[in-house]
Symmetry: C2
Subunit: 334 residues, 2 copies
């Protein structure tokens, strides 16, 4: 393999070729630079032949803005989260930013990883992981780095946020199961993890009580497919008290459905109505055909980036929280 290595051209190389000064090159590649059309054209032509690219490290050193935005996400291999990150990434790129992906899962050093983002002078941070460390977020705020939290615990303050309204979510779930004819309710409630998942479970339970219906709370380990299958026996044994169950994530609903089908012979929705949450792709798959509640994930990704950009423009504007649009999806399990 012959060494065809070449060095990257600098603005100086371009200037020399175009017969102008380096600063003219800079102006040609900057937005508000006062430069004549013909000079700019000369520069651009030279830049093209040399395949010149502005060195963002040099630019970022000079400006106090890197164009890099951190996306902090856990459980990226989960359908909902994968789509969320995809759309956030897409939206950032469309707006001229470059996303840094920070995957953090249990046993990872979340704090250390998020801290390392600050080495890169990031322009902003979008957090959709479990339990982001408050300390790092505070530090970002001090440095005027906008942080947007998606569906995170409101105990972390000082940031803009995108959040589903757990009140609406719980109410909507109750309404859907009610309309489907349920009168004895159950809910799958994870013991840990996401604030909004537990939140909607609690509100749902409250709505049931408020309306004078019995509600059985079944605690789960996590919010995954396995959590749903693990809860199957529990649900089965309490079937006298439950004819409509709210699974607070689609994944748990899939697990429960499969568990019931596999081990017992329960008619869904005849004997038991099942409602999921999130409306991930699999919910519409024939095997599940799951009634659920859609979170408008695209809207929320767009809103997150928008919030970040607005805060960049106006650092001192009042904190803002935007709600994620919720839509009931009636399919075959209610």
């Amino acid at each position: 393999m012959a060494d065809m290595t070449r060095k990257k051209p600098t603005s100086y190389d371009v200037a020399k070729l175009a017969g102008v000064h380096r600063s003219a090159v800079s102006r040609a590649f900057s937005d508000g630079g006062s430069i004549s059309a013909e000079t700019k054209e000369k520069v651009m032509k030279a830049a093209k032949t040399l395949e010149y690219r502005v060195n963002f490290f040099a630019r970022g050193l000079q400006k106090q803005n890197s164009g890099l935005v951190g996306i902090v996400a856990s459980r990226l291999d989960t359908p909902y989260r994968a789509k969320q990150v995809k759309l956030a990434s897409h939206e950032l790129i469309e707006n001229g930013y470059t996303p840094i992906l920070l995957t953090v899962d249990k046993s990872d050093d979340v704090s250390g990883r998020m801290s390392s983002l600050l080495n890169y002078n990031i322009s902003g941070m979008i957090v959709t992981s479990d339990t982001p460390p408050a300390k790092i977020i505070e530090e970002c705020i001090q440095y005027n780095i906008p942080v947007v939290l998606i569906n995170r615990d409101p105990s972390i303050t000082g940031t803009d946020r995108i959040q589903l309204n757990i009140e609406d979510a719980g109410q909507l779930a109750f309404d859907m199961l009610c309309k489907a004819g349920a009168t004895k309710f159950g809910v799958l409630m994870p013991q840990t993890q996401t604030y909004t998942v537990q939140g909607r479970a609690k509100i749902f339970a409250q709505k049931c009580r408020d309306a004078g219906f019995p509600i059985t709370i079944i605690e789960t380990q996590g919010q995954s497919y396995a959590a749903g299958t693990d809860a199957t026996q529990d649900v089965y044994e309490k079937l006298d008290d439950i004819d409509g169950i709210f699974c607070t994530t689609d994944l748990m609903a899939f697990g429960l459905l499969d568990g019931l089908r596999n081990q017992y012979n329960i008619a869904v929705p005849g004997q038991l109505k099942i409602l999921g949450f999130d409306d991930v792709d699999q919910a519409s798959w024939g095997a599940y055909n799951l009634s659920t509640i859609n979170q408008d994930i695209q809207q929320s990704a767009i809103a997150a980036v928008d919030l970040m950009m607005k805060r960049l423009e106006t650092p001192l504007k009042p904190l803002e929280t935007r709600s994620i649009l919720l839509t009931p999806i009636h399919r075959g399990t209610t």
Copy 2:
């Protein structure tokens, strides 16, 4: 909201507080810096109280290495790809790199986006998207930026690669269906997209012919769940000629299974044996219980990062291709 903004401390601030020269700070934070233990400690202490972090933009300008690595990925909302990106990201971070996520899907300007990575002086690039533009990759190579291609068309040359052996894959699929008792074969073959998907379909067909069995090729639009359901009627109509079908992705297998269950009454595996490929999470879910072929995605992520690092160390070493480990997974559909 009071303005609590502070400026980031620089190495100069730390030096002042520690009573040393800036270069001592640099040495304290560099790996091979010759510095006395006590000076280093002084520096570290000062750095800690000021919450100093090395500015990677300044460092990256000086060294010719940014620590940033581009992950170029399409269809991130797909189970296989999501896991792949998650693991690659994790592996990069573990090795001290910072992943930039470049999502590219149809209608996106792939070339422009990948080109923008070069603005950041990236240390390397891991590509797992469809149809990466050869031009950009060539340019990376010229600048000595290691590029690792995962399961991409071999017509793009000059890079290290991670790839499943399509020969093995086709053979394995044939063997599995054979052992399950199939004698009349079918295969779902996407008309576009991934090289390895089409590749294993073609090899599979060839193996069937070589062994003297009839093979029916059914072309699909894409390789998704919908592609599988769309193929259902086609498969149904050809059921006289097929008793074992190789769906070249799990997603297509799910679609086909659901399509068959929903519209027809076909016994699987009695009447028709179905084999998927990838072993995504959903394949083990109760509703599908799909026999498939596992690609060791963790091994491939680790190998990709390893290959990149090796190339960084030894830019001129011969090009290398590593194979992805394949494992037959026997479940309920064969």
